[in-house]
């Protein structure tokens, strides 16, 4: 079995030796550098752009919104995002105002100094509250970018049956992806000016085509997208590169020269999308035994100035609204509002980390209110196979949450430690706390998403029998280029060394959908695995023709075709037979959802995801009760992603996601003043160093999913979803005061405890 084996990733060597080429490592002859001039105001109208004639403007290329050949709209979601200001209006600090390209940055900077841009400043709505009260209008007629409702059972009745009702309000703030490689694109125009090639750092080559579709006058297939080695994505390269690509492309088409656009770190932090800030209000009814009987959930996300992926991020947050709990009567009301701040969009976990942090901290309080320890309360209430989720989905299979929570409980002696922490003296300077959390994460797109995308992938068989995978999903560090070959090698029963992945180039590979939503292994892997069955069938039929026998009588085992137990041909021979019969050696397949999946987008009801990953975590913390510094001593997590195709790569995802979540909960605080991000570099936006990241202990739980390749579901995002609630619960136990907001900084604990009065 090559599936399940931790083979080393195929690109490790070139990355270690520095040979791997990232976007800033390549250059084109005659290339210009591009730069975006950005708004210093959170809401304003551009009055005039004046060029000082003393500057030699022929030495640079400038580009303004009026020059856009097609439509100035990001072709996705709410269709509200302009590439350059619409009617001169800017809605956040850092919004692109105009573009400029020149032979070097010195020339560009000199040109910028000779530009005078005048604005009429407009009053802005900087907080969700201001935007909801429509202090000024940013989107539609109420600033609501998107809203959803979920109703299950009868909420009024549910609360009538409740013995106790527990309420809480929880807040989260922006998080920056902080990929170590900044955003970068090179656009190379076709000689005839009727097409463009985009090289870059990106997660979704076909999104660039889709999202810039209306921008140019040429058809989408004239936009060729080639991915370079990509230095981390985490959602930050899902949609945003389409904007960078559009800017570089517009400049390069005008200049008729390649344009390279590499963001500086400050520009990247100030202008690229972030995780949505949130306000989650929860009201939970429990019966006398501690069973949850009713949940009323109200969620508001801050979408920033434009919608970007907000509608789908909010969808995931909405579905997480009831947590991983079984509850008969549920109401979930959610909305995302537009504010005059940097747009928020995709980020690992996609709306779920915010909501699960709130739910899991809240459930710790509910457990306490009903007199159960947090573990026992969860065991009583967590979803299990056969239960119905908030959207009315019957959980048919692959529900590993019970095993996950048992595992983390066992490894940490959770209940004993919890009781010990409860009995600690209040006088101790260093106080300990322990917290537990349990979550799910739907793999693949929400609802009908995968049905709409119908991911395509291909396999090309060479005459020597080796296979080449053709897929439009990308490698960004997660290991796709290692895992997909493992699946194909397993299915074709050939050595994994004989399976390669084609370069990610829209001219060479089909649209497999974006590399997001923890979907690549489960969805694209499934297409490939099924395709391998088709290929083997084709090979059998070639043997049938050559040997004049029936296909049903041919059996394929360990790389050999047998006819009634007699060896007929090995795999390579069969490929030769096939090649002699048919010329075409390329095979394509398309994803189809399991047949039982039903989803009503209007009512937000039904099978939200075909398969769910499940995870649990325990955090142990020590808080210095004088300085309020929080030391996370240990993060223990168990995660069910179905079959782990490559366990070491799975662990890598879990460890990295856990570290990001640790940063999110404890360190990373984005500070805005009048809409401007103050900590716009890695000196002041604090991500964890090797000295900060706590000990992370990982267990892989394999609750196989029957429709995934070899039982695999998704893992990419879930590690970021689960730690929040556990860490916050642990801090709460140690401190003895509610802190319902992350990141939990010493300053926040200080304010909550207020030791000096």
């Amino acid at each position: 079995m090559i599936v399940g084996e931790s083979i080393p990733r195929c690109d490790a060597n070139e990355k270690i030796t520095g040979e791997a080429k990232y976007i800033d490592d390549i250059n084109f002859p005659d290339q210009l550098l591009g730069k975006v001039i950005r708004s210093p105001h959170s809401c304003a109208r551009i009055k005039s752009i004046l060029k000082d004639e003393s500057f030699n403007w022929a030495s640079v290329v400038t580009f303004t919104a009026e020059e856009i050949p097609g439509e100035n709209v990001f072709n996705n979601f709410n269709m509200d995002v302009p590439f350059l200001p619409k009617d001169g209006r800017v809605n956040y600090v850092g919004e692109p105002v105009m573009l400029i390209a020149g032979k070097d940055y010195e020339t560009i900077c000199s040109a910028i100094r000779h530009l005078k841009i005048e604005y009429d400043v407009i009053e802005s709505s900087l907080t969700m509250e201001e935007a909801l009260n429509v202090k000024n209008l940013i989107y539609g007629n109420d600033n609501i970018l998107k809203k959803y409702e979920i109703h299950k059972g009868d909420i009024e009745n549910g609360f009538k049956n409740a013995n106790q009702i527990i309420e809480g309000e929880y807040r989260t703030h922006h998080q920056e992806h902080a990929y170590i490689e900044p955003q970068g694109i090179i656009a190379v125009p076709d000689k005839d000016g009727n097409g463009i090639t985009i090289y870059g750092y990106l997660q979704c080559p076909y999104y660039i085509r889709l999202e810039t579709l209306k921008l140019f006058k040429f058809p989408p297939e004239k936009i060729r997208v080639i991915q370079n080695t990509t230095g981390g994505g985490f959602g930050g390269k899902e949609h945003f590169p389409s904007i960078v690509a559009a800017h570089a492309a517009l400049l390069s088409l005008k200049a008729k020269q390649p344009v390279k656009m590499i963001y500086e770190r400050d520009e990247d932090i100030e202008s690229s999308t972030k995780r949505h800030p949130s306000l989650v209000k929860l009201k939970t009814g429990v019966d006398k035994d501690g069973r949850i009987v009713a949940m009323d959930v109200d969620i508001t996300f801050d979408g920033g100035a434009y919608s970007m992926a907000t509608p789908v991020v909010l969808a995931r947050g909405t579905i997480a609204g009831c947590g991983a709990y079984n509850c008969p009567d549920v109401r979930i009301m959610t909305r995302s509002v537009a504010t005059n701040t940097v747009p928020t969009s995709a980020f690992r976990g996609f709306g779920a980390p915010q909501v699960f942090f709130a739910i899991e901290l809240h459930m710790t309080k509910v457990a306490e209110a009903v007199g159960l320890d947090p573990y026992a309360f969860r065991i009583l209430n967590l979803l299990k196979e056969g239960d119905i989720t908030a959207t009315g989905q019957l959980l048919r299979n692959s529900v590993g949450i019970g095993r996950c929570i048992e595992e983390v409980k066992r490894k940490t002696d959770f209940v004993e430690t919890y009781i010990k922490c409860r009995k600690q003296s209040r006088e101790l300077i260093k106080r300990r706390g322990i917290g537990i959390s349990a979550v799910f994460h739907g793999a693949g797109f929400t609802g009908k998403g995968e049905d709409k995308i119908k991911a395509k992938a291909g396999i090309e068989i060479s005459p020597d029998g080796s296979a080449k995978i053709l897929c439009g999903t990308t490698e960004m560090g997660q290991g796709m280029r290692t895992i997909l070959p493992q699946i194909v090698a397993e299915a074709l029963e050939i050595p994994v060394a004989n399976v390669k992945v084609e370069r990610t180039d829209t001219n060479l590979v089909p649209d497999s959908g974006p590399t997001v939503a923890s979907r690549t292994t489960m969805i694209v892997g499934k297409v490939l695995k099924d395709l391998c069955q088709d290929i083997l069938m084709e090979l059998k039929s070639a043997l049938m023709s050559s040997f004049n026998i029936s296909v049903d009588e041919i059996e394929y085992k360990d790389g050999v075709f047998y006819y009634k137990d007699a060896k007929l041909a090995d795999y390579n021979d069969a490929v030769s037979y096939y090649k002699d019969l048919r010329k075409c050696m390329s095979f394509y397949g398309q994803y189809s959802h399991p047949p039982y999946i039903k989803w009503d987008e209007e009512k937000f009801e039904g099978d939200a995801y075909a398969g769910y990953g499940w995870a649990a975590a325990v955090a142990e913390v020590e808080v210095d009760m004088e300085t309020f510094e929080v030391e996370v001593l240990r993060l223990v997590t168990a995660q069910d992603m179905g079959k782990a195709i490559n366990p070491v790569l799975v662990e890598g995802q879990i460890e990295g996601g856990t570290a990001q979540a640790y940063g999110y909960c404890i360190l990373e605080e984005m500070k805005l003043k009048e809409g401007r991000i103050l900590n716009n570099n890695l000196t002041t936006y604090i991500i964890p160093t090797s000295l900060d990241v706590p000990a992370i202990e990982t267990s892989i739980i394999e609750e196989n999913y029957p429709y995934g390749p070899y039982g695999a579901k998704g893992i990419g995002e879930m590690p970021h979803v689960v730690p929040g609630g556990a860490i916050a619960s642990a801090v709460r136990q140690a401190v003895g005061v509610d802190i319902d907001e992350i990141p939990i900084t010493p300053e926040k604990i200080f304010k909550a405890v207020n030791p000096v009065q």
Binding site: E626, T627, L667, K671, L678, T689, D692, E747, F750, V756
Partner: protein, 284 residues
């Protein structure tokens, strides 16, 4: 905007000649470069000439006389951390240097740079402040010695004149019967800028405080000596009541601000916590 030239003198005299000659232009002295290069990158500096002093001989040594250590400003933080004289006579300076940036930064950044950048968050400044640091500033024609308290005039502002070079940092030796304290609160455990730091030294004679120096980082525009608190404690015995009073006193002595790293009220509170920790240690 564009830097016209860089000078690479090999002696102090050469460096001073260059400074004198270019008094009217904007000359930036660069040693380890870990601050200057960041300022240049962020376009916070307008410079005509760079004066690289990193090749000047004998400016990275530590010498001693009976009561002092004389530290060459080009000594790196790595050098400080490995220096036996500093280990013996100024151990809290080693703790301060250990908090600077990262291994890569400590390999390059110098104590002189930390002093001349003059940030109230400079990691080594509170430790040298409690060692009564004096700075020798040399120009072509003069040499003067400036006390710590007179050296810093505001955030990133010092009294160094354009024709002067920092050539010596002289600190008092401390002796084994003294108690030391250094504590640093940052935003993370490495690559961290100070929220609050405190360095202190104390000598007890017959159960009472004989000598006491306390310096605080990041709570004022410059690194602050807590003089009022020091004076109040001198001659007194360290008892629970004294500690409580000192905590209140030192909190009243500072008025830190809210900034990107922390809040004023937290910082004020923490100053008291660190005071208590220091005196608790003294009491033991």
């Amino acid at each position: 905007m564009k830097i016209k030239k860089a000078f690479n003198p090999h002696t102090i005299r050469e460096a001073l000649e260059i400074l004198e000659e270019h008094m009217k232009q904007k000359v930036k002295i660069i040693a380890g470069g870990t601050d200057v290069m960041v300022f240049l990158h962020e376009k916070k500096l307008d410079v005509d000439y760079l004066l690289d002093i990193s090749e000047i001989k004998d400016l990275d040594h530590v010498r001693e006389d009976e009561n002092h250590l004389i530290i060459g400003p080009l000594l790196t933080h790595k050098g400080i951390m490995e220096n036996q004289l500093i280990k013996k006579y100024a151990p809290i300076l080693i703790e301060g240097s250990a908090k600077v940036g990262s291994p890569q930064i400590r390999n390059r950044a110098t104590i002189g740079g930390n002093v001349c950048t003059g940030s109230p968050a400079g990691d080594t400044l509170p430790p040298i402040a409690v060692h009564n640091a004096r700075f020798t500033l040399t120009s072509k024609t003069e040499e003067r010695s400036v006390e710590f308290k007179d050296f810093f005039t505001g955030p990133q502002k010092t009294i160094i004149k354009p024709n002067e070079l920092l050539t010596k940092i002289t600190i008092d030796k401390c002796f084994s019967d003294e108690k030391f304290f250094f504590h640093f609160l940052g935003m993370r455990k490495a690559l961290s800028v100070t929220k609050v730091s405190m360095a202190a030294r104390c000598k007890i004679l017959d159960g009472a405080v004989e000598k006491l120096c306390i310096a605080l980082g990041s709570v004022a525009p410059v690194v602050l000596r807590a003089k009022e608190t020091e004076n109040e404690l001198i001659g007194r015995k360290i008892e629970t009541e004294t500690i409580e009073q000192a905590v209140k006193r030192i909190r009243n002595e500072v008025s830190p601000i809210d900034d990107i790293r922390s809040t004023g009220s937290y910082r004020k509170y923490i100053v008291g916590v660190l005071m208590k920790r220091f005196l608790d240690r003294v009491k033991k």
